[in-house]
Subunit: 358 residues, 2 copies
C-alpha cells in the first residue's frame, strides 16, 4: 500500500493510524455485531464515542464549563448564518474583519441578517495579510467581532488575537488545534472538521453558553445554538461517522502530545518558508509576519512554470499542490496530520525543480 | 465475524457488501494513495463518486431533468425549516397533515416561518394511522401540501398519495426507495440517508427546479435550494464520506433489482404482521390499512413482558427492538438492507417467546 503526500486544503490528510482503526472496525465495531455507522445514535456504542469526542476536545483545548462544545452539520458556511442569527440582535451592529475570501463570505452572510461594520479590510491586498489590532475601527457596543484566524486560500494567519470589549468570534476552520490558544479569549470558535480534525460533514462549535441566550424565540429549532446545547448535539441524528473519526483523531492528538505537535507544525512551516526564501525563484504570497503555518502559498516566475511544477510534483506523489482556483499559484496545506518527512521531501523536489528550471 | 440482526430505526443496518468495500478502500482509495475521506471534494476521485451517486438516484427513482437531486447536511430536521423558507411566500398558506411525531415536528417549524393549515390531524390516535385523502381540508392556492410518507415511530404509512392541486412535499426519511413511486407526483421529496440509503450526516432532496425560484432574495446562501442546485451540492464541502457510502448503497440497490427488492420488502413485512396477527398475544399498533412495511410496531400484553421480550431478544442477537422512548412497545425496523432471514428468525423467536409466556 503506497500512501502519497497529500497537500490538499481540505478534505485533507488524516493520521494513517486513524484510517487503519476505522478500517479494522468497519464491519463489526468492537464486537457489537454492527458497524458504528449502523449503530443507533442513542445506543451505548455511539454515545460513548460522542461523549469521548467532546471530553477530548475539552481536554485538548482547555475548554471550561462556561462553554458548550457542539458538533453540528453544514460546515463553517452554515455557521456564517447561524452566528448573526443567534448573536446579532435587532438594532445592534457586528464588527467583521475582512482578511480574504473566507472572511468575505462570512461578511456577506451576516449582512443578510443584520447590521455589519467592516472594521478593517485588507482582503484583496497582495502580498496577502490579516489586519493589525491597531487598524481595527470597532463599533461601541458591538454584538461581537468576527475574525478568520487563518485564511486557507491566501495563506495569511492571525499570529496574536486582538483584545476587544465585544465577544471575539473566530472561524478557525483551517488552524484549529494547530497551536496553543486561550479559549477564554473567545466568545465563539467554529471550524469545519475537514482540515485539522477529521473528515468533512461536521463542524465543531465552541460557544460561551450565555451568548446562546440572545437568539430570538421564533428562530427555527435547528438554527439555535441553544437547542444543540440543551440536547448535547443530539437534537436530531448527528453525523455519527464524522464524529467517530473526530474522536479517533483527538485520541491521536493526545497521543502526540500537543506541545510536540505545535512545535512540529511550526517547524514544518519554517522548513518550507526557508526553502521559498532561499533564492529569487520562489516568492511567498503572504507578508512575512502573517505567514500561515497551515497553508503555505507561493508563486513561481511564471504561470507556465507553476503548471509544470504542479504536474511534475503530482507525478512524484506530491498531491494537491495547486493553489485555489480563484488565485492560482502553489499551496501546500500542512495540517496536524501531515508528516514532516513529506515537507522535507517537497523541499528536495523544490530544489531539484529550481535547478532544472531556474 | 458475527453480524447481529440490527432492527434499529436509524442509523440502521447497511448491506454487508457495502461495509466490506468501505473497509477495503479505507486507507488507499482505488490506488489514489489516500482515503476517499482525505480526497479533495473538487478532485477527480470524489467528483466521480458524487456524480455517480446522483446518476444512480436519478436512475433508481426515475427522476427527470425537471428535478434537481441534492445532497445536503443537517438531516430532515433542517429540511423542516428549509421547506417553508424556500417555498412558503409571505401571505401564502401551506397545508400540512399531522400523522404523528415527525409530521408534528415539521408543522412546528413551518409555523415559525409562515401560515400553516393543518389539513388533517390524526397524529395522536391509537391505533396509529395516516389521514385519508377524503378527510383533507385543503387551502385554495396553498403553497404546498406536506405529508410524512412513513411515520418511523408509530409505524403508519401512506399507501397511496393524495392527488392535489398544490405541489406535494413528502418527508420520505424512513421509506425512500423502499417501494415504487412516481416522482412526478411530488414537488419535493426529502429524506435523511440513515435509514434506507446510508449513514447519517446527509439528506437527499429531490426538488422540482421551478419551486426553488420562490425563495426570498435575502435568504442566507446555505438555506437556499437555488444555491445547491446551481452548485451541484458543492457550494461548500459536502459530507463526502456519507455520499460515498450512499453511492455504494445505490450500486447495491441496482444490483438487487428494484422489483425484487420491493417485493422482498413487502414479503418481510407481511411475514412479521402475520406473526403478530396469529393470536392475541401480540397486538399491532397501526390500523391494518396503514401498516408500515418499514417500521413494524406492536405491543405485548404488559410492559413487563415487553421489557422481557426486548432483553431476551437482545441476548439472542436481535438488536434495537425497543420502541421509541416516547411510545414504548416493540418496533422492528426492516429497511431495504435488512435480510429476510432476520425476519424469519425473529418470527421463530416470537413464537417461542409466546409459548413460554403466553
Amino acid at each position: 500500500m503506497a500512501r502519497c503526500y497529500n497537500f490538499c486544503a481540505g478534505p485533507a490528510t488524516l493520521p494513517q493510524a486513524v484510517l487503519e482503526t476505522a478500517r479494522d472496525e468497519m464491519v463489526d465495531y468492537q464486537g457489537s455485531g454492527m458497524s458504528i455507522m449502523e449503530s443507533s445514535h442513542r445506543g451505548k456504542q455511539y454515545s460513548a464515542v460522542h461523549e469521548e469526542a467532546e471530553a477530548n476536545v475539552r481536554e485538548l483545548m482547555g475548554v471550561s464549563d462556561e462553554y458548550a462544545v457542539l458538533f453540528l452539520q453544514g460546515g463553517a458556511s452554515t455557521q456564517f448564518a447561524y452566528i448573526p442569527i443567534n448573536l446579532l440582535g435587532a438594532g445592534q451592529t457586528a464588527d467583521y474583519t475582512n482578511s480574504g475570501a473566507w472572511a468575505a463570505k462570512a461578511i456577506k452572510e451576516a449582512k443578510l441578517i443584520g447590521n455589519v461594520n467592516v472594521a478593517a479590510d485588507c482582503g484583496k491586498e497582495i502580498p496577502t495579510r490579516v489586519p493589525t489590532a491597531e487598524e481595527l475601527q470597532l463599533t461601541d457596543g458591538a454584538a461581537y467581532l468576527h475574525i478568520t484566524s487563518n485564511e486557507t486560500i491566501s495563506g495569511a494567519q492571525w499570529k496574536t488575537f486582538p483584545t476587544v470589549a465585544a465577544p471575539l468570534v473566530a472561524d478557525m476552520s483551517s488552524d484549529i488545534l494547530s497551536r496553543p490558544i486561550d479559549v477564554n479569549q473567545f466568545g465563539l470558535i467554529y471550524a469545519g472538521l475537514q482540515k485539522n480534525l477529521g473528515p468533512s460533514g461536521a463542524a465543531l462549535v465552541i460557544i460561551r453558553k450565555d451568548l446562546a441566550e440572545r437568539v430570538p424565540a421564533n428562530t427555527p429549532t435547528m438554527f439555535k445554538y441553544k437547542t444543540h446545547i440543551e440536547q448535547g448535539s443530539m437534537f436530531n441524528t448527528p453525523p455519527c461517522f464524522s464524529i467517530y473519526i473526530l474522536n479517533l483523531v483527538t485520541r491521536w492528538l493526545k497521543g502526540q502530545g500537543l506541545e510536540n505537535l505545535f512545535a512540529q507544525n511550526a517547524a514544518k512551516a519554517a522548513t518550507l518558508y526557508a526553502a521559498i526564501d532561499a533564492g529569487d525563484f520562489y516568492r511567498g504570497t503572504a507578508v512575512c509576519e502573517c505567514r500561515s503555518d497551515m497553508n503555505v502559498t507561493w508563486r513561481l516566475p511564471s504561470e507556465e512554470l507553476e503548471a509544470t511544477f504542479i504536474k511534475q510534483a503530482d507525478a512524484e506523489g506530491f498531491k494537491g499542490l495547486k493553489g485555489h482556483r480563484s488565485v492560482g499559484g502553489i499551496r501546500a496545506s500542512i495540517y496536524n496530520a501531515f508528516p514532516p518527512e513529506g515537507v522535507d521531501a517537497l523541499v528536495t523536489f523544490m530544489k531539484d525543480f529550481e535547478a532544472r528550471n531556474g
